[in-house]
Amino acid sequence: MAILVDRDTRLIVQGMTGRAGTFYTDQAMEYGTRVVAGIRPGKGGSRHFSLPVFDHVGEAMRETGANASLVFVPALAAGAAIIEAVEAEVPLVICVTERVPTLDMVNVRRALEGSATKLVGPNSQGVLSPGKCKVGVMSTADVRPGSIGVVSRSASLTSEIVAQTSAAGLGQSTTVGIGADPVHGIGFVDCLRLFMDDDETEGVILIGEIGGNEEEAAAEYLGREKPPKPVVALVAGRHAPPERRMGHAGAFTFLGRGDAAAKIEALRAAGARIAENADLVAATMHRALPEKAA
């Protein structure tokens, strides 16, 4: 097993015919992901990579039995593309687009209310179940199938931690980028729950950063439900100056909320093991895992 994506994933790609869409669809197929169609309004009926292209998500769903969509649509239309996928009842939508206007995401969140769709992103590197399915833009150079779930707000740090856990012989069950934007789809808590229910996952690494209170929500969940698998947390930005935008729109400690120290304390108090710096994440997980019979 894995979470969110696996060998049964049948993927459509919204915006497949663009430059980035073409590049990453190619990579995903090479990795073994089953891509069944692309969406590009105006190009319906044509083919791309010998795959059918449709004008609308609904059509593609009916024709191909897809169960997930990867959104590569440019920022100005990404919100509308996600809403189209929600209305077509795609069970899983993963959006990698950067710089989507926040109020468009406010409308997306409204469309998601009461829907059957799980949204990952936007501004996410995507979801990867090593050896099974890649839906996104992440590097696969250092991944290795294994037992650690990784959920993160940062693509670059995920690559780093993935390399560490591979080198430590742990490997990954699934890695999820929940996205770096202030308003986004599923969060740390949703992913922690999924990982706790996943047989293959033996421990979870949570990679947070300054801004928002996603980490605090995760801490609350951990404290309340005391899940059985170890959780190791890294929170980046301990030394970031306050109230300055640091790359990610969401990473911005506002009104005194969202500073790293408070997040780390909340997670520690809830029973998460804290990795003191980014170099120590895999080692911290190694210590946290129950010893296996040799």
Binding site: A20, F23, L76, E98, R99, V100, P101, T102, L103, D104, M105, V106, N107, V108, R109, R110, V137, M138, S139, A141, D142, S152, R153, S154, A155, S156, L157, T158, S159, E160, A163, A180, P182, V183, H184, I207, E209, I210, G212, N213, E214, A217, L234, A236, G237, R238, H239, A240, P242, R245, M246, G247, H248, A249, G250, A251, G256, N277, A278, D279
Partner: protein
């Protein structure tokens, strides 16, 4: 993007929010003319900088005459204001905003912002506003009134009236406040704002509501569809280096240290800074190379560091993946060094896609450097080199 107070007020006034009569002035002479034009006997002179907290450091003063307004402005103009929200060197005051002073019977706090957890726009209010509002709210969080807006649609009239009553307004003021809040909510959506704060919203001694100070931030991601707002960008107030970097697809924040930091990805950059600081290092900048940046653009970013005499060593920490490969960064360093001609120690740490190739390439390109394999190792060496 942060707007100046005078810009935010002009925008809100166009939407129909009452603001005090005021004008911008660049020189003491202009202040005299502006104050005389405005008329009245009391004026507020306010430094226009793109940072909060100016009230506590003398950036807002009241004058009882045109002459006094001029004297205050003469002192303010050209000074540097250092607040909790400015860089440590502070912001230069290049112009002031002169307003007719308004006597408040009561100061109310009203703000609109995006609640990232709920994924909606919320209207916040407190019956007691003013400079101390954060302290007051911390002491009594229950006094914060909150109304979630329905998506990007308008809130209902009844909800707004109830909100106004919760702020302690009564009688005809409830209707007036509800109308004002509806306008603010509409403006928030139309402008793609991420924050509009009216603090204080002043209840004047004559019983009118006036927006006495306004803070407005517009969503950078939406500027492509807000050309009017984009044209208000005050490039003089943005750090020249940061502006240059933005033009090259780099997120860049200038800092005070002597270690230039080149990293791809915001999270990795934050983590690199944490390690550097833990080891006693002082970064000269925050840099996040976006995945779309090509080697020439990255070279521009590295060039900014080479051009800064305070920078004594450059720490490169790249994790190749997606579209940015480690060797792209090496090409960028090569280009930047050739442009600049400056010799400076480089600590190079590469991981992920094409890391090994990049380590070979940096040798082939004859770039003097030291290789580190871990982030901590790289940071430790950079801190040592910065001390020499």
């Amino acid at each position: 993007m942060n707007l100046h107070e005078f810009q935010a007020k002009a925008i809100l006034a166009r939407h129909g929010i009452p603001v005090p009569a005021g004008q911008v002035a660049w020189t003491p002479d202009e202040v005299t003319r502006v104050a005389a034009d405005l008329g009245g006997s009391r004026f507020a002179v306010k430094a226009q900088i793109l940072a909060g907290g100016r009230g506590e450091v003398g950036g807002v003063k009241l004058a009882d005459s045109v002459d006094q307004a001029r004297e205050i402005a003469a002192e303010m103009l050209g000074s540097r204001l250092i607040t909790a929200q400015t860089p440590s060197a502070g912001h230069n005051v290049r112009r002031v905003y002169v307003e007719q002073a308004v006597a408040c019977a009561r100061e109310i706090y009203v703000g609109l912002l995006v609640d990232r957890n709920e994924g909606c726009v919320v209207l916040l209010g407190a019956g007691q506003g003013g400079a101390e509002v954060e302290k007051l709210l911390r002491r009594d969080p229950k006094s914060l009134v909150r109304l979630a807006l329905p998506g990007t649609q308008q809130p209902g009239d009844a909800d707004l009236r109830q909100f106004a009553e919760a702020l302690g307004l009564t009688g005809s003021l409830v209707e007036e406040a509800a109308g004002l809040l509806a306008v603010l909510a509409r403006a928030f959506v139309e402008l793609d704002a991420s924050l509009i704060e009216v603090n204080p919203l002043c209840l004047t001694e004559e019983g009118r509501l006036v927006a006495l100070d306004v803070k407005m931030v517009v969503d950078d991601n939406a500027l492509f569809r807000q050309p009017d707002i984009q044209s208000l960008r005050d490039e003089d107030e943005v750090d020249a280096l940061e502006l240059e970097a933005q033009r090259h697809d780099l997120n860049f924040v200038r800092m005070d240290g002597n270690i230039g930091v080149v990293v791809n990805g915001a999270g990795l950059a934050l983590a690199t800074h944490d390690i550097l600081r833990d080891l006693g290092g002082a970064p000269a900048n925050f840099m996040d190379i976006r995945t779309t940046a090509v080697s020439l653009q990255i070279a521009k970013g590295i060039g900014l560091l080479l051009a800064d005499p305070a920078v004594k060593v450059i720490l490169v920490n790249v994790h190749g993946g997606g579209m940015t490969r480690c060797d792209t960064i090496v090409e960028a360093i090569h280009i930047a060094m050739r442009w600049s001609g400056r010799k400076i120690p480089i600590v190079f740490r590469a991981a992920g896609q094409n890391a090994e190739y990049a380590r070979r390439l940096i040798v082939d390109r004859r770039i003097a450097h030291e290789v580190a394999l871990s982030m901590s190792g790289a940071a430790r060496r950079a801190v040592e080199l910065a001390k020499d």
